[in-house]
């Protein structure tokens, strides 16, 4: 059973060809684009959701920060759709791979920080020391703030990976337990099945929340630095 549990997280290859590229590109099929004023239901729904998200998330930024709108909206759509598609049976979720989440987190964080250092150098350096610290504590606090700055991209990536992977693993385990219990004691199997349903509802929520959190944090780092 140990080997079976983790086989769903292996990068899918077929005869040596990277199938994973196709799987990463698949969510883009579900978001058609259109030039019309009034569209079909699918596109209208997506446009409404996109407007809601962009207004809620980008209204706090200055003009300079709002140039990142396209990037952040694509990010939240990508992570949200990839996580939700991973809840379908037998599918592969690219966001369970740490490599991909690091590839998303590090450039975005670095972009925000470097923008801050280039344009508002004094203010960015001032972030390293919170206001009103007693003088003897200053050296130690600067070190702590530096560490907390450099841990931000790692935390972004690992948070997303761990949440999605843990959710998928729990679903596998509890589903397997339900199946194994049906022959032994149907009542316990029923209870486990109800737990499975609750867990799936949680996973749907987690899928969308993780996307939101990722994007929100990147936008927060951006707000600090523009």
């Amino acid at each position: 059973m140990n080997e079976n549990l983790f086989t769903s997280f292996i990068t899918p290859m077929m005869l040596g060809l990277p199938l994973v590229t196709l799987i990463i590109l698949f969510p883009s099929l579900l978001f058609p684009s259109s030039n019309r004023l009034i569209n079909n239901r699918l596109i209208s729904l997506q446009q409404w959701a996109l407007q809601l998200m962009s207004k809620q998330m980008m209204s706090i930024h200055s003009t300079k920060g709002q140039t990142w709108t396209l990037m952040l909206m694509s990010l939240i759509l990508f992570i949200g759709s990839t996580n939700l598609l991973g809840l379908l049976p037998h599918s592969f979720t690219p966001t369970t791979q740490l490599s991909m989440n690091l590839g998303m987190a590090i450039p975005l964080w670095a972009g925000a920080v470097i923008t801050g250092f280039r344009n508002k150098t004094k203010a960015s350096l001032a972030h390293f020391l919170p206001q009103g610290t007693p003088t003897p504590l200053i050296p130690m606090l600067v070190i702590i703030e530096t560490i907390s700055l450099f841990i931000q991209p790692m935390a972004l990536a690992v948070r997303l990976t761990a949440n999605i992977t843990a959710g998928h693993l729990l679903i596998h385990l509890i589903g397997g337990a339900t199946l194994a219990l049906t022959s032994i004691s149907p009542t316990t199997a029923l209870i486990t099945f109800i737990i499975l349903i609750l867990l799936t509802i949680l996973e749907f929520a987690v899928a969308m929340i993780q996307a939101y959190v990722f994007t929100l944090l990147v936008s927060l780092y951006l707000h600090d630095n523009t």
Partner: protein, 88 residues
């Protein structure tokens, strides 16, 4: 030749069985030809099920069902060990 020109204009269901090999060989297998085939297929599905005035959930669900099925085919090799058998 008249028979070649007739062959080029027929769709798959109109080709007679004897003409099938020459019809297959006549198709455009260059990268741009294959890309064109995928594009035509995509727009055929999109305009029939999604790009309509009152599209329903079926347009999206059929795509997701096909996605689930393809992933099942991809992981069949590992899944066949998990069948309910007395001896594996």
């Amino acid at each position: 030749l008249a028979s070649l020109m007739n062959l080029m204009e027929k769709k798959l269901l109109e080709v007679k069985l004897g003409e099938l090999p020459s019809w297959i060989l006549m198709r455009d297998f260059t990268p741009s030809g294959i890309a064109g085939a995928f594009q035509r297929g995509y727009y055929r599905y999109y305009n029939k099920y999604v790009n309509v005035k009152k599209g329903s959930i079926a347009g999206l669900s059929m795509v997701l069902a096909a996605y689930v099925f393809l992933n099942y085919c991809r992981s069949y090799k590992e899944l066949k060990h998990e069948r309910l058998r007395k001896y594996h």
